[in-house]
């Protein structure tokens, strides 16, 4: 019987050129697959790591494991409203943000004016989605680094928001709530009380999270000065959201290119400052998310105070009769800048819907961020970009 070692040495073959790497493997390098099934890749993503011991020489991402042909489906829908449940399923963690973007894009294309009440409720729901998405991002990031407990605390806080969502539209994760021209349901009667109670409950929890995780010395050692993304590189890679703001660029669509009623609220844009490391490292991106949650609570409190009355279904058109035209609208989702390019040719079904997904674009910057990192750092960097594979692959 052949010994296992000789068996294995005959088994290894070196391809001429590794696609994506562009050259042959050197003697001391090894290709290891952080494969589609892995606890830390936040979904089905395959990262092919070319490593030299523990140091990563190159990262080659392989996508498409969750590709569900969203854009092709849109072309076969019988009207524009039917796209909304599909749009939900892209970034399934913060589904309301996807619907928001699509609804705003369609309303711009068809020149529909929505009532004020609808705008305010949409903003409240979008900010709740932001809180929910950042809670998952922070919780799973802690888990990747090795701290298992903050994840459970974030899930506990998330349950409160999901309860509010369930009372409003009946669903916890995928809502089909924001329709073109309005909303599917009005909010329940005790909505304002519940929202205010949540805001009061949630603020001290952010502080608890900071004490437990953000200022923990070991966490800072793992994330500071790791995965530094300089601002020029971030802009060239069209990064957006916390990834761009973590690099020090103060750019938020809610303030710089406002849509809906965001210009009526008073909130700040947190930006990475390099407080414990370099500007643009993982800790900065993580901290931007934590502080954004706080700002979201501010926005929600202001919005719920100003909420006007009205009918949320008043402007939902019975039949959408579109004209020819096209529009590109971008909104600020928790992951970054989500863009919808909708082309209409006059028929009731969309001609082309292209989604510019922020996670897709942010992920393309991963190889640039991880030169010279170690394997444990790749996990940290990937967690700080905060990808959801549903949106990367659509």
């Amino acid at each position: 019987m052949e010994h296992a070692a000789t068996q294995m040495s005959g088994y290894v073959s070196r391809p001429a050129t590794i696609p994506g790497l562009g050259r042959q493997l050197r003697e001391h390098e090894m290709v290891i697959s952080m494969g589609p099934q892995h606890p830390s890749t936040h979904g089905v993503l395959r990262l092919e790591l070319v490593v030299d011991g523990e140091v990563v020489v190159d990262v080659i991402p392989h996508l498409g494991y969750l590709h569900r042909c969203f854009e092709k489906h849109c072309e076969h829908m019988s009207n524009y409203q039917q796209v909304i449940p599909y749009a939900d399923r892209m970034d399934y963690v913060a589904a309301m943000s996807n619907e928001f973007g699509y609804a705003v894009a369609c309303e711009k294309l068809f020149k529909i004016e929505v009532p004020e009440r609808v705008e305010y409720i949409r903003v409240i729901m979008a900010e709740f989605s932001r809180i929910v998405s950042h809670l998952i991002a922070i919780g799973t990031y802690g888990m990747d680094i090795g701290a298992f407990t903050p994840f459970l605390y974030c899930m506990r806080d998330r349950e409160h928001v999901l309860d509010i969502f369930e009372q409003t539209c009946g669903a916890r994760l995928l809502y089909n709530y924001m329709w073109v021209g309005g909303l599917s349901h009005d909010v329940p009667p005790d909505f304002a009380d519940k929202v205010k109670a949540f805001c009061k409950y949630f603020r001290p929890n952010i502080k608890e999270l900071n004490d437990l995780l953000s200022h923990n010395k070991i966490f800072i050692d793992r994330t500071a000065n790791v995965g530094v993304l300089p601002p020029e590189v971030a802009i060239n890679y069209a990064c957006s959201g916390p990834v761009l703001r973590g690099s020090g660029v103060k750019w938020d669509l809610r303030k710089n290119d406002p849509y809906s009623v965001y210009d009526r609220f008073d909130f700040e844009i947190p930006v990475g400052t390099g407080k414990v490391g370099t500007v643009g490292d993982c800790w900065d991106r993580y901290m931007v998310r934590v502080r954004e949650m706080e700002q979201s609570v501010n926005i929600i409190e202001q919005a719920i105070d100003q909420l006007p009355s009205g009918d949320v279904r008043a402007a939902v058109p019975k039949r959408i009769r579109p004209e020819r035209g096209e529009v590109y609208v971008r909104t600020e989702t928790p992951k970054g800048e989500l863009g919808y390019y909708i082309v209409s040719d006059g028929t009731p079904s969309p001609y082309r819907v292209k989604v510019k997904s922020p996670c897709f674009v942010n992920l393309s910057a991963l190889p640039a961020m991880s030169r010279g990192a170690m394997i444990a750092d790749i996990v940290a960097i990937l967690g700080s970009i905060d990808i959801v594979l549903g949106e990367v692959d659509r």
Binding site: G22, E71, I235, Y328, K354, K356, S364
Partner: protein, 159 residues
């Protein structure tokens, strides 16, 4: 910077490359550019002092039925806050377009997706492979005349 000024600056620099423009009645100014010169136009748009389109927001492949393809570029400027749309027109027999990957690194993956979905070949792209579909998939799914293949690697494709 208003659309007319942007158009004048571009026209002055690239008279032969700019094939058409739509400045009124649209949300952002649209310019049609020839596919071979799109990289030069892009670099000019990025570097010119008053334009500084430093972000490629979105790069979309298009299939205008009748064997005509196209690429649509949505550019934005973080510095100045204005936006512009570039369009190129290609044919299914000659689906070649110059790559803008050297101008904005984000185009790398966007162009791979346009190649994957429409079969548009970007000259000068360092690594043009499929990105969302499996690497050995046949056909270009988002084309209007696409038919799902019956077999893939010996397995029957359902539906």
């Amino acid at each position: 910077m208003i659309p007319q000024e942007m158009y004048d600056i571009l026209r002055a620099e690239f008279d032969d490359a700019v094939l058409g423009a739509q400045l009124e009645g649209v949300l952002d100014p649209e310019l049609t550019v020839s596919p071979e010169r799109v990289q030069d136009v892009a670099r000019f748009l990025r570097d010119e002092q008053n334009l500084q389109f430093d972000t490629l927001m979105c790069l979309t492949g298009m299939d205008y039925t009748g064997g005509r393809l196209g690429v649509v570029y949505h550019l934005a400027s973080i510095k100045w806050g204005h936006k512009i749309v570039l369009k190129t027109e290609l044919t299914a027999e000659q689906p070649h377009c110059r790559s803008v990957e050297s101008v904005w690194k984000t185009a790398n993956w966007h162009e791979r997706e346009a190649f994957d979905m429409f079969g548009i070949i970007f000259d000068g792209h360092p690594d043009l492979r499929r990105i969302l579909n499996p690497y050995d998939w046949e056909g270009y799914p988002l084309r209007k005349d696409y038919r799902v293949p019956e077999f893939y690697n010996g397995m029957r494709v359902p539906y």
